[in-house]
Every structure is written in C-alpha cells, then in structure tokens.
C-alpha cells in the first residue's frame, strides 16, 4: 500500500489567489481550520478550531519550505507525537491552477496512536469541520 496520499485538483483561479488561501492565516481560518500560521521557514504553527462541548483537535507543526508556489509543513495531531508531512504545490495550467497535495508519513500511525487519533478525530475534527461548513453557509446566505 502506498504510504503517501496524493491529491490533485484544478481550480479556475489565478495561482496567487490559491497561494494566499493556503498561506495566509486569516484565509486558512476561513476555509480550513482556525490557524496561527506564517509561511516562514521554521515557524511553529497551530491549527485549532473554535472549541465546542466535545473539544477540538489541535494540529501543530513546523514550516519546512515556503517558496511560491511550494509549501511544506510537518503535521502532528493532538498528543500523538507522530510526525507526518504535508506538501502543497501549485502550477499554472493555462487559465487554471493545478494544486498537488501530498501527505506523507502516514505509515507512522500504528497501534495505540491510531486509537488516540480515532477518538480525537471522532470527537472533534468532524464536528469542527461540519461546524465550519455550516458557518460558511450561513455567512454566504446572509449576504
């Protein structure tokens, strides 16, 4: 089984707009998860959603590379201490932009870590993401 997840998606938006969406804290916080983030090598970031009654998962890590248009950071979930790596790459394709996302090191999750992960994500992450989606829909509809 492949140990790296690779996702490719083409967006009908200029490369700069997508780069901003994945590197600027206020934008990441809007579509992804509440972020304390700077696209600077060595910056220790945290992703954390607004707390709810079940609590939320915290993701933390260090920025390894941040040159337009490649962003690399480590990805550690809650208390698992298992380090994985997330890489974002952007390429211009005519009038569109291709985004290539790689998440590697997932084989490092084993045994008990997986249980911690499952409980953590089960209680928090899904709720936070669903909450964010609902929030976004409300904001959009209110306009």
């Amino acid at each position: 089984m492949n140990k790296t997840i690779t996702k490719e998606k083409v967006f009908n938006h200029p490369i700069e707009q997508i780069w901003n969406a994945i590197t600027k804290a206020e934008e990441i916080s809007t579509w992804f998860i509440q972020a304390d983030f700077k696209a600077e090598v060595g910056f220790n970031y945290t992703f954390k959603s607004e707390p709810n009654e079940k609590g939320c998962t915290t993701i933390s890590g260090t920025v390894k590379e941040a040159n337009p248009y490649k962003l690399v950071y480590t990805w550690v979930v809650a208390d698992t201490k298992v380090e994985t790596t997330v890489t974002w790459k952007l390429e211009t394709q005519g009038n569109s932009t291709k985004l290539i996302l790689e998440h590697s090191g997932i084989e490092n999750y084993t045994g008990e870590t997986a249980i911690v992960m499952f409980e953590s994500f089960n209680g928090g992450w899904d709720n936070c993401i669903n909450g964010l989606t609902t929030f976004l829909k409300e904001v959009v509809n209110a306009r």
């Binding site: 967006f11 938006h13 579509w31 996302l101 992450w125 989606t133």
Partner: protein, 109 residues
C-alpha cells in the same frame, strides 16, 4: 476504500460481534454456526446475521463442508484501520472541496 473502512468500523462497533470475532481468533480450528450459537446461547439466525456483517467487512471467512458452514477469523483488515490512509484521503478531498467553495465565494463577492 472508504466503504470498506466504514464496514469495518460498523462490524467491530457491536460488542457481540467483537466477542464472536474474538472467539474465532482464539479457536484452534474453524467453528460451525451451530458451535458459535451454542457458545453464545444465541439462535442460529442471530449468529448468521452477525457472521454476515463480519464477513462483509472481511473479518470472517467461510468454508462450506457438506451441510455445515465453518467460519474462521481473518484479522488482516484490522491492520488497514491503523494506516488511516482512507480516513485522510477523504479528509483531504473534503478540505480541497472547501477550498474550491471558498475561492468561488470570494470571486463572487
């Protein structure tokens, strides 16, 4: 793949099925439906229902010998849970969809 992992979680979410699966793991040989029903004081229909769900999840394999159906454990799919590939795969699909929605909303604004 996501369907498989969902089946797996559903199969092991039920305590009776976990017990049946455990009994098959520690059994030295394959067990018939009758043997399992006796061990758990359950009807054959009840056991058959649970075995079918475990079988769909790939955790139990079946072997027909004459009129008897023998079941044995296959713990291999459990390893898949540990890898979390499917989980993250779906997570990133959803996140990239959110990014797309966000960009489209921003464009319209």
């Amino acid at each position: 793949m996501q369907d498989n992992i969902t089946k797996l979680f559903k199969a092991i979410a039920d305590p009776t099925r976990r017990d049946i699966f455990h009994a098959l793991v520690i059994a030295t040989s394959a067990l018939s439906i009758t043997q399992i029903s006796n061990q758990f004081s359950m009807t054959r229909q009840g056991v058959t229902k649970h075995i079918k769900i475990l079988n769909d999840a790939g955790l139990v394999k079946m072997n027909d010998q004459g009129r008897n159906r023998f079941c044995y454990a296959n713990p291999k799919p459990l390893k898949e849970i540990n890898k979390w590939m499917q989980f993250y795969s779906q997570f990133w699909d959803e996140s990239l969809d959110n990014l797309d929605n966000y960009l489209n909303t921003k464009k319209d604004a």
